[in-house]
Symmetry: D2
Subunit: 383 residues, 4 copies
Amino acid sequence: MIRTVLIGAGSGASYFLAGLEKLKAREIQPVGIPLVNYMKAHRPEDIDVVAVYDVDNSKVGRDMYSIASKLSPFSSVPRTLKDIVVSRGLHCGSLRGLDVDASGLEDALGSPQQALEEFISELVKLKPDVIVNVITTEPMRFVESEGEFVKLASTCSAGATLAYAYAASEYSLRTGNPVAFINLTPPAAANSPGVVSRFERAGALVLGDDAATGATPLTADLLEHMAERGRRVLSVAQFNIGGNTDFLSLTEPERNHSKEVTKSSMVADILGYDAPHYIRPTGYLEPLGDRKFVAMHIEYESFGGFRDEVIVNARINDKSNLAGLMASIVPVAKSLLERGVHGSYATVNRFYMKMPGPRGTKNISKIVAYQDLLKELKKLDII
Amino acid sequence: MIRTVLIGAGSGASYFLAGLEKLKAREIQPVGIPLVNYMKAHRPEDIDVVAVYDVDNSKVGRDMYSIASKLSPFSSVPRTLKDIVVSRGLHCGSLRGLDVDASGLEDALGSPQQALEEFISELVKLKPDVIVNVITTEPMRFVESEGEFVKLASTCSAGATLAYAYAASEYSLRTGNPVAFINLTPPAAANSPGVVSRFERAGALVLGDDAATGATPLTADLLEHMAERGRRVLSVAQFNIGGNTDFLSLTEPERNHSKEVTKSSMVADILGYDAPHYIRPTGYLEPLGDRKFVAMHIEYESFGGFRDEVIVNARINDKSNLAGLMASIVPVAKSLLERGVHGSYATVNRFYMKMPGPRGTKNISKIVAYQDLLKELKKLDII
Amino acid sequence: MIRTVLIGAGSGASYFLAGLEKLKAREIQPVGIPLVNYMKAHRPEDIDVVAVYDVDNSKVGRDMYSIASKLSPFSSVPRTLKDIVVSRGLHCGSLRGLDVDASGLEDALGSPQQALEEFISELVKLKPDVIVNVITTEPMRFVESEGEFVKLASTCSAGATLAYAYAASEYSLRTGNPVAFINLTPPAAANSPGVVSRFERAGALVLGDDAATGATPLTADLLEHMAERGRRVLSVAQFNIGGNTDFLSLTEPERNHSKEVTKSSMVADILGYDAPHYIRPTGYLEPLGDRKFVAMHIEYESFGGFRDEVIVNARINDKSNLAGLMASIVPVAKSLLERGVHGSYATVNRFYMKMPGPRGTKNISKIVAYQDLLKELKKLDII
Amino acid sequence: MIRTVLIGAGSGASYFLAGLEKLKAREIQPVGIPLVNYMKAHRPEDIDVVAVYDVDNSKVGRDMYSIASKLSPFSSVPRTLKDIVVSRGLHCGSLRGLDVDASGLEDALGSPQQALEEFISELVKLKPDVIVNVITTEPMRFVESEGEFVKLASTCSAGATLAYAYAASEYSLRTGNPVAFINLTPPAAANSPGVVSRFERAGALVLGDDAATGATPLTADLLEHMAERGRRVLSVAQFNIGGNTDFLSLTEPERNHSKEVTKSSMVADILGYDAPHYIRPTGYLEPLGDRKFVAMHIEYESFGGFRDEVIVNARINDKSNLAGLMASIVPVAKSLLERGVHGSYATVNRFYMKMPGPRGTKNISKIVAYQDLLKELKKLDII
């Protein structure tokens, strides 16, 4: 059993929980879960979600069956999700500016400090192995030192993601039970030196940041393909449009910028030069739902100076992708913990994340990252 | 200097020779040449083409300046190509059925045996390090044993590619100077056990088969991308249409079939199951010239059983690709010879070829093949 | 009521019948039916299918509920289709070479003449207004004179489509009740002078040939778009791949050629010059089912001699398209009959057909054809 | 001869002037010019550009040879363009916020009123038949009444386009020589009731607004194609990215909004309902230059409720398109003037413009607009 806490009761959690139950019931095949055919230490079916937190008042107190019935397109949602009721978590202003009626533990208890203490004490009861953060994209932040991390996070001054990360590290420190905190959203957890060093000290693990779903991994691998052929990439344009709240929230410039940063670093990292590019979530179009439309255009020069082009169009269900990554990284994180890995772990982050921590980690292509991952997980006897 | 003989004075040779001269003259950048930034033992600029062979009567006796001016789209073709005059090679019926006025040494000398002897004696004078075969696609053939190879090839009964390969092996055996024979066309040289074992015995090297140009390497890497995400590929359709003689000759069913075979093995090899696919050169459309149009559709299932799709469209100049591969593999082959590598060499073939020999070699994705190649060439101190 | 006989109990008939029943029951909206918002004389809901004919032994004697359940993707097929049982029709070798166990009335009764007499006498009982032909694509044929038509069709020597057309004309002649025979398949009915003149004499109507479904109408309108801008189209490539029996049967060269002819005439007709093109059903890929994948590439020159390109990719359900056309053209045909229109009718054919009859009819773009159609049907007080 | 004044010495003017000279010299074919094969009254070759105005200080005083050499990709620009020197025009703040060193006649002369008088007196000397406005996109404005038009435009308070339009109308009123003012940019000239009524009174002609170049006409015709088949369009996404100053200036939200408005009205006008859509210039990517990349995704429902999709990708040279439209509409406008047409003219605007005036004009598809245009121009004996 992998005791798992989910932060964020949105579509990602809905796809994940519904899919997981179906997987356990053998109603669906283990498709879309990286490494699943290799896993031996722990497997997706071992995941036991012991709590889900959110701050959206329309979700807190409701069960995941009713939420997943609304937020996922499964023709039937497993009724076992009725047993998972959403708890109130930390807000720290993370939904500010969006059209959501939200309140956090800090609103109920009067101060961020009390809210954090309450949340930590709930963790003590839940005894999680893994905490997975899939809340709505917040504006980007970094914390440089442990001191800054403790100071800002404990007062809710660095957003919800860092507050949750802080709670996770405190839980590990206080109980001596190391936890893995997996940040699948853009704010810098595994990319903040202050956060990583705190987890290091706690013997705990922070993985992140920003799950590599959607078109970005595909772009990375296409760029690797170009680079290996020695082609000179002249320009990269990539558009994304979707119909879920992710895209709605990204129409807020600050949040969009946060996404843009995590996507753009890879161009120079993979090609070795910063080819002109425009890679950005572009718009919101309600009928597309979770199946976003992606269009990409890459123009390049090949031997002799001749110009060619590759155009990619895709319909991609980001949420199904995300849920599959969750089903893969949770067992991996649990195994890493058991083998004493702590701090952060670049080899894992490079495959699963758009902005792999710790800071300074090169954003290599996903296929190359995967080969390295295979090798290292084999060495650790995880796969 | 890498003394190099080209078999085939078509567009591939034209792009290669014109590009190479421009590269030596620093008129163009070394773009589109795999590994070029790593090479230390030998480099593309070291290639010295000492002879070009063909059987097309409109080419034999003409210089490569006039041929490349017609067959390549460079705005200016280097006048140094006037020094390379096309010699008559072996026909062995390789252009049968196509609208080309061709005759080989066997027609001039009366028998295949005499033609081969003549060709081998020319090699003895030319002292090549590397022989590169880029003739028009012939129907597919395999030879199982050395005996079969010697018997069929020496009588021109297994097509021109195998006859040239035989001559290369004979040259190595007789002179003790091992040569590398690089087969960039579909017939099975490196995939024929009889050929590989003959080269093995001669201390020589045969690399092949069928240069990995065009859309096939891209398809391979896209399939790898899918496989690593655990997605279930439901179908793959890939169309190709171009306007050069390659596409014209592929309207002949036998030659088309030859291409189809080399492209299809990879689906099962990369995915681990044989997803339904249609991957085939599709038609001829004159105005496209060398810049073929490729359309690809991949439908797949991801976590939870949801269906997504990726559509790729590309304009790809196969000949520029091919010339870049030639500029890369020739120095590599020379370095391998110097380090005593003989027989065939799967690690190299897996990256550069569509149907990597020797027979039984798994057709892995190009990005993975490239990672392995980097590692092995480093070990051999070639890069 | 429009008494309608369907020839062909395949997927086209299945989509049409199931959709029609759902439309009558107001379970679906009248979507995908050209002109539906204009129709006043007769409407799709007025169609009454009184018989369905086929020669596939696995279909004859079965009801359309069980057939449509297998051949259409509706989540529920209306049970009212249980009342429509497939009758045995004329074979005339139309399925020769395909893997279908088929026998026609001529096999049961001993001769084509007796089969035709039997079929005509069934028509006399059925009193159809409209007969719609949607059998599997046969090789292309033309008949030049009435004499040739009568001679070949009455002996089953010109395929099933022409035999059915002959029966329809005989029915009209003998009973004085003119019928509309709508040929939605490639063989030349409305394009055969002999057929049209026979219908003319019978006061009956023959519409055809080859329903304008799939990518062809889209290509036509894109070419019109180019032409109106004065652009010079340099090349047109269009690929099609699908997973139903249509595509399977088109892997037979003769049937494929039949399709190719009906698609290619439009390039010169719309552009005014025969731009190089490759427009052809390309392959069979089972998992695509009825939703074929289409890829199209158009390169053109615009003002100043600059080159641009348009690439279209589509997933198109041909059968849903076809069924929508059927629901539109049947009421139109009935109205035309009532207004005394006989022979053939180019204005209708130009919009609904890929190869509009009568012979010599220009294959204009669909948008232009539609504008003309609107105008003429208004004049005739049909819409 | 058609005496023509160009407002705006940017790439549009450069392509147009260079192309026109090449056309007159028979160096290029009359490709990309709508109606060119029909024109009989006047033809593109009759256009005589008598003046070009701009306010960019790096352009004023320079000749169009040097400007077109920089702004157009012709391999050679006709030296006859050396004779056309750019004059200083009206600024009216039209380039405010963009990184251009600009000053208008009002800066030189001290007031907008004096600037306008000066410009009008230059027109009196130039005796133009046609004035074509192709300045950089300004924010959108409308003027309701003639009074408002005169008051705002004469004081430079409604942007440069309206100031030029005002000058054109004044010129016509004062000299009795009616001029055609063709507004190929988004601000509402032909869509402002006050402007149209002023031109009406002056016996002059105002055509506009916003030239139908790029992907918008294609989108219009695709939507018409869908509508005629009775399909229900579920969503339309259209992205545009380019590398010229148009796209750079559109990164300014106000100017972008202006473009968005002119593109969006057509969805409801053509389909009859406002299908959810996102149609917008999306970004700037320098290496694309004038050949912008367009991606479009249309999802729709067809008969039976099944979903299909069409995806379009295009490389489109907007400036070549624009120049071709200019070469077409100038002779048409001259002919209309000669036949006494004044005010505005919806039939012409509907084909050539994205936002056809006068206000209230339905934004029908381009193919339908073209058919109407053909008919009306024939009636007027212009073609």
